[in-house]
């Protein structure tokens, strides 16, 4: 067995916004085939951490990526599903416009070639959204839109998948569909997943490990052991006697 099966290694990461230090001394790693949940209170820096991995904010420290053979990847392909897409609901962009804009060199205002249409159909089929291919994205339900965003993130196949509270606008049934897709992707491709979630119940159910973020990494552990963590209880105020139901 190899010494490290890491997919991403973050070392001494620090992010500042003006004079505010949002993250400091963040060190952790995630393995292939693992779903790492970043948990923490609002404003703890979870989303900022994702943005640093996306190289969308300035940071100091190192973030390194490795493929499943353990080789270093200098420019990794990242799949990213944002918390929600804020756009005008009347925008005349259809699902296929959106998906084809990602991997076709033909501008989508000229229409879509057969090749792109097929590819888009197959990608959407993976997430069970192939029936919505001609729908404007503003007409999709919360769950449908998140699955389309996931399809977008999965092509070309990413070295790592980042999900920023992907199901905050999705109903209960949509949530379990969404996570079961993620889980099957993870098992099939050994794709590492980093997930930001507010819902500790989801984390226990769908993630494999967790990192408690509070401007730094306060604690890491296996997701199944999350309910026992004293620190997590303190952070989320669970020791005041309400909210035990959150684990279900």
């Amino acid at each position: 067995m190899k010494e490290c099966h890491c997919s991403i290694k973050v070392k001494n990461l620090k992010v500042k916004h003006g004079r505010n230090i949002i993250l400091s001394d963040v060190t952790f790693s995630a393995n292939h085939g693992e779903t790492l949940a970043l948990i923490g209170r609002n404003g703890a820096g979870k989303t900022t951490l994702l943005k640093a991995i996306l190289n969308s904010v300035d940071y100091s420290g190192t973030i390194e990526f490795f493929n499943s053979e353990g080789e270093y990847i200098s420019s990794p392909k990242i799949g990213y599903v944002p918390q929600r897409l804020s756009f005008d609901r009347n925008t005349p962009i259809t699902v296929i416009d959106f998906i084809c804009a990602n991997y076709s060199s033909i501008p989508v205002w000229l229409g879509h070639g057969k090749k792109c249409r097929e590819k888009a159909y197959n990608t959407l089929k993976k997430v069970g959204a192939e029936n919505h291919i001609e729908k404007p994205i503003g007409k999709l339900s919360g769950g449908e839109l998140q699955r389309v965003l996931l399809a977008f993130a999965l092509e070309p196949r990413p070295d790592i998948l980042l999900l920023d509270e992907p199901v905050s606008a999705v109903d209960r049934k949509g949530i379990s569909i969404f996570y079961s897709i993620i889980n099957s992707m993870r098992k099939e491709f050994h794709m590492p997943v980093i997930l930001v979630s507010h819902d500790l119940g989801h984390v226990v159910k769908y993630a494999t490990s967790y990192a408690l973020i509070n401007h730094t990494v306060a604690e890491t552990g296996k997701a199944s052991e999350l309910p026992k963590s004293q620190k997590v209880r303190e952070t989320f105020g669970l020791d005041v006697g309400r909210g035990e139901a959150i684990w279900e």
């Binding site: 943005k51 996306l54 190289n55 969308s56 420019s75 990242i78 799949g79 990213y80 944002p82 897409l85 804020s86 756009f87 005008d88 609901r89 009347n90 925008t91 005349p92 962009i93 259809t94 296929i96 416009d97 959106f98 084809c100 804009a101 990602n102 076709s104 060199s105 501008p107 989508v108 205002w109 000229l110 229409g111 001609e134 404007p136 503003g138 965003l149 977008f152 993130a153 980042l162």
Partner: protein, 281 residues
């Protein structure tokens, strides 16, 4: 040019086509209108109509700088200043200090005020009031060639960078995750708008140029569902209102630009009610 003129006389058997200035205006319209329809799609999608409006305002300062430098053709100084202005706005918005509409508002007011102050130094602002309303009938041959050039450049940029631009406008981080250089494409788009606004300002006028950019696309949005039809319908509306507005203004003796805008507005309201009636959105 002579060939085009005689072809126009054969193809368009109307009395107004006899005049060279109408021929030129007609040519200018069929170059400018599709351009506005095309670029308008993304201005409306990106909610940038306030930005393009501000660019029109700041062109006044560009003219003033041209006057002070003593150049004959203000287009260059206008364009230069508009580019500076566009990139200035974008970098201040990126710094995230204030909301974008506030920043654009500040630039817009400052641009028009500075222009008026500079142009009225010797008390002669009225000489430049033509820029407020514009005069499409004053288009010259060389300017038509310039317009054709701008149209070609725009279509080329639209062809090469539209997909990336669309992704950037939907979600910056998501676009970045696909290695799209969001800043680069946003700047290209801003520069393009600056170019189009300043090139056509003289004929369309500062007060209404933005309506020509925004109205066709806004009308198209009322009745389309995808990007292809959005572009097609927007260009169609823009060209239709351009040509019909020009001809109508000839017979009514009204300002061409304003007549075009009025027709565009009527189209907007018609599509708006069509949308409501058939519950398209």
């Amino acid at each position: 040019m002579g060939i085009i003129y005689s072809a126009m006389e054969k193809l368009l058997p109307f009395s107004w086509i006899e005049f060279t200035f109408m021929k030129n205006a007609f040519l200018a319209i069929i170059l400018i209108a599709p351009l506005f329809g095309l670029v308008g799609t993304m201005i409306v999608n990106n909610k940038m109509s306030f930005f393009s409006d501000a660019l029109g305002h700041c062109a006044l300062t560009g003219i003033a700088i041209g006057v002070m430098l003593g150049v004959d053709n203000y287009a260059v100084s206008m364009m230069g200043f508009a580019l500076l202005f566009a990139l200035g706005i974008s970098s201040i918005i990126d710094s995230g200090v204030s909301s974008s509409d506030t920043i654009i508002g500040v630039f817009s007011s400052a641009g028009i005020a500075l222009g008026i102050v500079l142009l009225s130094i010797r008390g002669g602002f009225s000489r430049y009031s033509g820029y407020l309303i514009g005069d499409i009938l004053s288009v010259t041959k060389n300017e038509i060639i310039l317009l054709a050039f701008v149209l070609v450049v725009t279509v080329l940029i639209w062809f090469l960078s539209f997909n990336k631009l669309m992704l950037s406008s939907l979600n910056t981080d998501m676009a970045k995750s696909k290695q799209v250089n969001v800043k680069f494409y946003k700047n290209i788009f801003m520069i393009l708008i600056a170019l189009i606004v300043t090139v056509s300002l003289k004929w369309v006028g500062m007060l209404i140029i933005n309506s020509l950019l925004v109205l066709p696309a806004a009308s198209a949005r009322n009745i389309v569902k995808n990007m292809k039809s959005y572009h097609a319908v927007s260009i169609l509306f823009s060209t239709f209102s351009g040509i019909s507005g020009l001809i109508l203004s000839y017979y009514m003796g009204t300002s061409a630009g304003a007549t075009i805008v009025l027709i565009s507005s009527v189209i907007f309201f018609v599509t708006f009610f069509v949308n409501k009636l058939y519950n398209l959105s």
